[in-house]
């Protein structure tokens, strides 16, 4: 099996400097490295201007990198842009629809561009219109639709075709919760069929729910890459443990303080603690506390992706670029 069959997206030491007309060139990508495995949903997270969209533009052959290499399905984006385009479809950040055409015509023309046999175009268009709740708008011109509906048309298009790699740049922006759910389901379904999906989003909950692996990007570099559990484990505050007793006794606090806790606070009946998973066994702690006083209720909450995100980017923002970890 070729390398690209395992990793359809491979980026090595990618640099993109925007020179433009201004005196100060902007380094949008600064030695970025990453690989995305086949059938994986890979999320790129980062603040505005972190380099996510630039990376998608390079990978979709809209711009050329300043240096480094990027390959899609084993094809170099600079040397073989046409071949790369044959294996991708993309939802770009901007709304991209044929406003003068109807919803159905938008889907039909997209199908033609992606070489779907003519007799299958209608069938596939019907299928995605049903999936994205567009059936009642099929003959309506897109110019008359709301922003959210336009976005739906744009996203629905990419699920008409069977390209091995899909780029989604903030695909669910402007969608209502129901259609957002339909989009996430479609993404998952297509990944299950073996399509590789690279997406950017600002909605961390969405990334948490959807992505197999995540990269947090800042100032054109990957600060961290890994699966959700691995990334969450990087948070300083790894777990919150809240334990409720019938009554709070001093021995409870005494027992808890024997453990290396990051936070310890008590109310009249509840003990609030934060622990780092690698340093304290949650079960051992609960067991010790239950021997002091019967536990009425307990809750263990792991750190959210948002915690890690804010922690990593908060630091890199204040103290300059953080080291690359993966």
């Amino acid at each position: 099996m070729n390398l690209h069959e395992n990793s359809p997206i491979r980026v090595h030491d990618l640099v993109k400097v925007y020179r433009g007309k201004s005196r100060n060139p902007v380094k949008a990508l600064d030695g970025l490295n990453m690989e995305v495995a086949r059938g994986e949903i890979f999320g790129l997270l980062g603040r505005n201007g972190a380099g996510k969209t630039t990376l998608l533009r390079v990978l979709s052959t809209l711009i050329e990198p300043t240096s480094g290499t990027a390959e899609v399905c084993g094809r170099n984006v600079v040397k073989e842009p046409y071949r790369v385009r044959q294996s991708i479809c993309a939802v770009l950040q901007e709304n991209a629809v044929e406003v003068f055409l109807s919803v159905l015509d938008n889907l039909s023309t997209y199908g033609r561009f992606h070489s779907i046999p003519r007799r299958q175009i209608r069938e596939r268009a019907e299928s995605v219109m049903a999936q994205f709740g567009l059936e009642e708008y099929r003959h309506q011109k897109v110019i008359d639709l709301s922003g959210g509906l336009k976005r739906r048309v744009q996203v629905a298009k990419v699920f008409m075709v069977d390209k091995p790699v899909v780029f989604l740049d903030e695909a669910t922006t402007g969608m209502d919760p129901v259609n957002k759910r339909a989009t996430l389901d479609a993404i998952r379904e297509h990944a299950r069929q073996g399509r590789t999906i690279l997406l950017t989003t600002h909605i961390l909950q969405e990334a948490e729910e959807l992505c197999d692996r995540i990269a947090i990007v800042d100032q054109g570099r990957c600060l961290v890459t890994g699966d959700l559990a691995m990334i969450k484990s990087m948070a300083t505050r790894a777990y919150d443990i809240n334990v409720t007793f019938e009554r709070m006794r001093p021995e409870i606090l005494e027992t808890a303080s024997r453990y290396p806790l990051l936070k310890l606070r008590s109310t009249s009946t509840t003990l609030e603690m934060s622990v780092r998973g690698s340093e304290v066994s949650t079960f051992a702690l609960l067991d010790a506390l239950s021997h002091v006083e019967p536990i009425v209720h307990f809750e263990v909450t792991s750190a959210s992706l948002e915690d890690v995100f804010l922690e990593l980017l908060g630091t890199s923002g204040k103290e300059g670029r953080a080291g690359e970890k993966s």
Binding site: G20, R57, T61, E64, L92, V97, R112, F113, H114, S115
Partner: protein, 255 residues
Amino acid sequence: MKMILAVMYREYRIRTTSLTWLFYDMFMPLTYLLIFGIGFESAFAGGVAVAGDRMGYNAFFLAGVLSMASFGIAINTAYGFFVDRDNGIFYEFLTYPMTRSEFLVGKILFNSLLALVQAAITITLGAVLLGLALRWDLIGLVAFGQVLGTAGWFFFLTTFAIRIRRNDMFNTFLNVAYFVLMFGSSMFYPVESLPRWLQAVSFVNPLTWHTDVLRYATIGAGAAEVVALEGVAFLCFLAVSFALAVQTIRNPLRA
């Protein structure tokens, strides 16, 4: 070829969403000939001279109307980049599985077909309504000139439409280009009757080359060797414009 046909299909779908616009587009050159041409035919009752031959103004102006129509279609098609950019679809297009050349050629092939229909309407009804004596044996050359002319101007304007990101700036550029190219050419008057400095402008103006070829093909006016040379010059202009347009669209974000 599949991709070129897909681009043509897309252009066709968009054009046919407004039949009024399409109708106006098709009959505009004839209207120009009927109003402007007849007005000037009356004003220059003695006709105009080209390479020593005298002819009526309408016969002279027919080629001007055809080249103006080509130029107009090229402007509309190039302006389409702004519309596509505003709708976000332009950049998405460039991620589709086609080469940049296929994209440009598909766009212009469809619009050249429109130019051909325009020319057919203008020539046929012009001949019937105004009694123009035409060189029907050279009608193939008219078609050829109309397609290549539209393509040449489209490729020329594409480079500017993609480089100039601002709609208002492109409008200004078009106004200046339209004014200088049209009035500094043989479109409205014979070059021989112009002052020397304007003749010099006209001789290096591709719109003159295009119009002269069409004039020769419609009414046989002009010296064949000069027109042939102008035809070759226009083909060079087309080739250079195409290369520049493809080069420009390879880096559409100017990044």
